[in-house]
């Protein structure tokens, strides 16, 4: 058991460290270029207070820090992933005040006082969220990189349907929204999976939607 625990920590540690050092490497080059060419590259540190998975956080951040980098680099919550970093892939999807967004396209300073829920806040290995359990049961992933974003999005999609938010494939805009496969597939189009686990993701979602 102790060995299992150690393996878990070290694998996560390596993954987090690897991705972080690649990202930091690139960022520091850009910053170095900034100060040499731009001259007046002022370091604008700003205080940011937000609540992440129920825990209040107070941080001093460069104003450029995205919500995603805040979670990963400053709070060491590496569940949310950096895929494209341009809002195209959905790997960084988190919930802000209950609404899913791309955390890579949002600045931490825009989120003063907000409540953020990441994949780490949805459930734990001992107590999985029903959507996490359904993804495991239906094999809704292969490499797993997009999975935290997929699961956050999937949870939010079912909530959006419950709240009567229409979609591109909703025929009757004034009727009751239903969690059909067409609806779920359309609403999940902002989450890309390069392994192509889509059909299993759809099955996992359908199971949770049925309750």
């Amino acid at each position: 058991m102790a060995e299992d625990g150690f393996m878990k920590v070290s694998r996560r540690g390596v993954l987090a460290g690897g991705v972080a050092s690649a990202a930091v490497g690139q960022a520091s080059i850009l910053r170095a270029q900034d100060s040499s060419t731009g001259g007046a590259a002022k370091q604008a540190k700003v205080p940011v207070r937000l609540t992440v998975n129920g825990t209040p956080q107070e941080l001093e951040l460069d104003s450029r820090t995205t919500l995603l980098d805040t979670l990963r680099e400053h709070l060491k919550l590496t569940g949310s992933k950096k895929g494209c970093d341009h809002g195209q892939c959905g790997a960084c999807t988190v919930m802000v005040n209950g609404t899913r967004i791309n955390s890579c396209l949002s600045l931490a300073v825009q989120h003063q006082g907000d409540e953020i829920t990441t994949i780490e806040g949805l459930g734990s290995p001992e107590d999985l969220h029903p959507m996490q359990a359904a993804f495991v049961e239906h094999d809704g992933y292969q490499c797993g990189y997009c999975t935290p974003g997929q699961i956050c999005s999937a949870v939010a999609v079912l909530e959006e349907i419950r709240n009567g938010i229409p979609s591109h494939v909703t025929e009757d805009l004034t009727g009751r929204m239903r969690a059909t496969e067409m609806e779920m597939r359309e609403r999940m189009s902002g989450n890309i999976c390069r392994c192509g686990a889509y059909s299993n993701i759809a099955e996992a979602m359908a199971q949770v939607a049925k309750g």
Binding site: D85, G90, I101, P166, H168
Partner: protein, 316 residues
């Protein structure tokens, strides 16, 4: 991303003043387009003025029976508003045809009107672009232009306004309300909001420096049947090759605006008048002055077929 300072404005006029008086300042609402462009250093603001605390996140009924939409209302909230679904369905349809759920939750009404083009040469900072850098030249005109504009373009720039929401707003004759740095308000018909940029493609809208969008006003409902058909390379989460927003009455008259074809939502009242004569007549009139490239000439017959599809649906 370049460094910037950040503030939250306390009133619309104060926000406008802050942007007007600070060199290199920009407004930020949702930020989904701006932050993307800042990462690429296509946008390099030195100061951001956040408009989220201004109480502009509500949709209100107007006295004449229309709606007044705060600039910070998210695309999702606007498309899901009961009155919009009931009376302005073309707008719900258009918004839901664009972007992804995550983006629509964050993107704002005002910000979406100001969404910058998705021309690949505008995004590629290794390529010349008159919009990104005035006088630089245009790599798109002789480049891969399949996605780009066919009408209202110029010898300087053939980019398009990429959004969906504004195409529906054009069909509805929405009005953009603004506040200027001196505190005075202005109303700009959405028809005049986006410019045909000629040889100044870096100036995309009628907004003056520091002028801030506060609301978008929808006139009284038009009735009729509402359609937004969007043709794209995949069925979800892609920009339009061509889109058609149409509000059509039972007698066959109506309004039609085209997206994905021009620097602005493309509509002409003369083309509207051709609706009872069918899709070919409308498109012949609307696109009479088109100057497509070899690669994007297909957009004109595609526009006709997309509209024909709507008219067939209308009849059935």
């Amino acid at each position: 991303m370049r460094s910037f300072t950040y503030e939250r404005a306390a009133s619309p006029a104060e926000a406008a003043r802050a942007v007007a008086t600070t060199q290199g300042a920009k407004f930020i609402a949702g930020g989904t387009n701006l932050i993307d462009l800042m990462k690429l250093e296509i946008e390099t603001p030195t100061h951001l003025v956040d408009v989220q605390d201004l109480g502009l996140d509500r949709v209100e009924e107007t006295e004449e029976g229309g709606l007044r939409i705060g600039t910070f209302v998210s695309n999702t909230a606007l498309s899901a508003h009961p009155r919009v679904r009931e009376d302005y369905a073309v707008l719900t349809r258009a918004i839901q045809a664009g972007a992804s759920g995550q983006l629509r939750n964050k993107a704002s009404t005002g910000g979406n009107l100001l969404q910058r083009t998705r021309c690949a040469y505008f995004y590629d900072t290794n390529m010349p672009c008159n919009k990104r850098k005035p006088g630089d030249g245009c790599a798109a005109i002789d480049g891969f232009s399949r996605q780009l504009g066919v009408i209202g373009t110029s010898d300087s720039c053939i980019a398009t306004y990429p959004g969906d929401m504004a195409v529906a707003m054009r069909a509805l004759d929405a009005v953009v309300e603004t506040v200027k740095p001196d505190g005075t308000a202005r109303a700009i018909p959405v028809a005049d909001f986006h410019r045909l940029w000629g040889d100044t493609p870096h100036i995309e809208t009628a907004l003056e420096p520091g002028e801030m969008i506060t609301h978008v006003r929808l006139p009284t409902p038009l009735g009729g049947q509402h359609f937004y058909h969007k043709v794209r390379d995949r069925r979800s989460y892609a920009y339009a090759l061509v889109s058609v927003a149409a509000v059509i009455q039972s007698d066959g008259t109506g309004r039609v605006a085209f997206g994905g074809v021009a620097p602005k939502p493309w509509r002409s009242e003369a083309a509207d008048a051709q609706l009872p004569n069918g899709a070919a007549a409308v498109v012949r009139t609307a696109f009479a002055d088109a100057r497509p490239t070899e690669q994007n000439a297909f957009k004109i017959p595609l526009a006709e077929r997309t509209l024909a599809g709507i008219l067939a649906e209308m009849r059935s």
